[in-house]
């Protein structure tokens, strides 16, 4: 479904991604894990068109994404939940969700999808007229995911959905991620919480200093000694 081929991204003189190759098949949950500053977020931002690759290709269903703007990539069915949630703080929860459906014009379908999001996250319904900035971290994460779902993505990019959340909320969020995947959305999950991510995913890539270090089945990686020592806390 999505394929990154020899991707190189620079921030000025800094070489942030080095020859990154990554493949996601339809229906999978693929996770990209690694330390702070390894290039996880950069990978996602390049896929969604906010950063531009210097060399290399991004193929989405065989189609090159390089020349498209971020807004066009959303229309093609790739939705990105950014790191730190980035909800629109002085818009209401409802307006935030509406922004998620920005590219769509099918009003009756949007209404249906809104109801789906509210049934997935009942707490958002309770707070729909509240400013998004007043929500708790977990609620903001739910809002950010709900907002992304409203563009009807075929591929959902999640950047550290567990960041800063209490363990119980993290569990809740991961359960929902699995549900979303079961309903037919392919997922690329970026995480620092390698344990949770590997439990949830089918396949995994480990990125180190901008390079893909290890790749394989999530289960295999969980039992790999090197991975255990470096990423799973022994």
């Amino acid at each position: 479904m999505l394929e990154l081929q020899n991707l190189n991204v620079y921030y000025g003189a800094i070489h942030a991604l080095r020859n990154v190759n990554l493949k996601i098949n339809q229906g999978e949950i693929v996770t990209l894990i690694g330390a702070n500053g390894a290039g996880k977020t950069t990978t996602l931002r390049t896929i969604s068109g906010i950063e531009k690759a210097k060399t290399g290709k991004i193929l989405y269903n065989g189609q090159g994404l390089d020349s498209y703007s971020a807004s066009h990539i959303v229309k093609l069915g790739i939705s990105h939940v950014p790191e730190g949630r980035r909800v629109f703080s002085t818009m209401s929860v409802f307006e935030n969700l509406e922004m998620g459906a920005f590219t769509r014009n099918d009003k009756s379908q949007i209404k249906k999808d809104l109801e789906n999001v509210f049934s997935l996250f009942p707490r958002l319904l309770e707070r729909k007229d509240q400013y998004a900035g007043t929500l708790s971290g977990g609620e903001q994460q739910m809002l950010a995911i709900g907002r992304a779902l409203l563009s009807r993505p075929k591929l959902l990019l999640l950047d550290e959905p567990s960041m800063g959340l209490a363990p119980i909320i993290v569990k809740e969020i991961f359960a929902i991620i699995k549900d979303i995947n079961k309903n037919g959305t392919t997922i690329l999950l970026v995480e620092q919480n390698a344990n949770m991510a590997l439990q949830c995913a089918n396949r995994a890539y480990i990125i180190k200093n901008g390079e893909i270090d290890i790749e394989g089945d999530a289960k295999d990686l969980m039992n790999d000694e090197n991975v255990k020592n470096a990423y799973l806390g022994g």
């Binding site: 807004s71 950014p82 909800v87 563009s151």
Partner: protein, 313 residues
């Protein structure tokens, strides 16, 4: 004795009425001046909200709006409202063009580069206009009925032009309010000003949103230009400098990037200046305007309506 008392009463009444009349009169003037500042300040604040650029050429778009109004009414004998609307449309186009030609190439450069570009555009417009229309002051034709109404049967008179200014300003603000809160364009503008990256991830087209912002802001400045032309009857190529600066002050007083702040700041500044003039300090009114800015910034560095929403991590 009796007669003396009556006389005293009458004079007291008269005195009270006189002050009241003056106050009403100055209030009306303050609202008119405030309207002009608010219209210009809105463009400043909207552009700042979207691309964090202080568009110093904004006051000059107001000047060009006045000249467009002048040309339409003097040479083509167009009426007030058509002139207002055509001038707004042309200023909107000019604003979009300026953004595309001058600001877009430096959009990802340092902020100081963008600021220097804005100052250059400002000087280019001022002295470019001076080349084409000459430096002399032009006289606007009388467009509006030169009628004065007395307020509440007192001696305070209301120039009907004041009513036009206030009516046009309030209508434009209502339309703006509608655009910003009810339309897709407005919502995309709010989203971009809150979080540029997140807005792009929603599928919002940055270039389009920036163009719309410049168009709307410049149209409001164009309207202010025509209003001032008809009110004061005289225009010149440097007329935008001081009101542009004052409107910038108004936007900062209200909290730059915040739309209601620009309106509040505009009226606040207009009222302060008029009242200072009314009570004998007309020479100091500009100094007072900037003193007010300093005081507001000392007390509330984000402006009167500025707020700090804490981010949750």
């Amino acid at each position: 004795m009796h007669l003396g008392k009556l006389f005293l009463n009458a004079s007291l009444n008269f005195d009270w009425g006189d002050k009241m009349e003056q106050l009403i009169q100055q209030f009306v003037n303050g609202v008119s001046l405030g309207s002009i500042y608010a219209l210009i300040a809105l463009g400043y604040t909207m552009v700042y909200g979207i691309i964090k650029l202080i568009n110093f050429a904004h006051g000059d778009i107001y000047m060009i709006g006045a000249y467009i109004g002048f040309a339409l009414t003097t040479f083509l004998h167009v009426g007030f409202f058509p002139a207002l609307i055509i001038s707004m449309l042309l200023c909107a186009l000019l604003g979009v063009l300026i953004e595309k030609v001058a600001y877009k190439p430096v959009r990802n450069s340092t902020r100081i580069a963008a600021l220097i570009t804005a100052i250059s555009v400002s000087l280019f417009l001022e002295y470019g206009m001076m080349y084409f229309v000459k430096a002399e002051t032009r006289t606007f034709p009388e467009l509006l009925p030169n009628k004065q109404i007395s307020i509440l049967n007192t001696n305070a008179v209301l120039d009907i032009k004041n009513l036009y200014i206030i009516f046009v300003t309030i209508s434009l603000m209502l339309i703006l309010q509608y655009i910003i809160y009810k339309t897709k364009v407005g919502k995309s503008m709010r989203a971009v000003s809150l979080d540029r990256d997140a807005a792009q991830l929603m599928g919002i087209d940055m270039n389009k949103t920036i163009s719309y912002t410049f168009a709307i802001g410049s149209a409001l400045a164009g309207a202010a230009g025509v209003l001032v032309g008809t009110y004061y009857n005289s225009i010149n190529p440097l007329m935008g400098v001081v009101p542009g600066l004052k409107a910038f002050v108004a936007a900062v007083i209200g909290g730059i990037g915040i739309i209601p702040g620009a309106v509040l700041g505009g009226f606040f500044l207009g009222m302060t200046e008029t009242m200072v003039s009314a009570f004998g300090g007309s020479l100091y009114k500009d100094a007072v305007a900037f003193a007010v800015l300093i005081l507001v910034l000392l007390a509330k560095p984000n402006g009167l309506l500025g707020r700090n929403i804490k981010e949750k991590v």
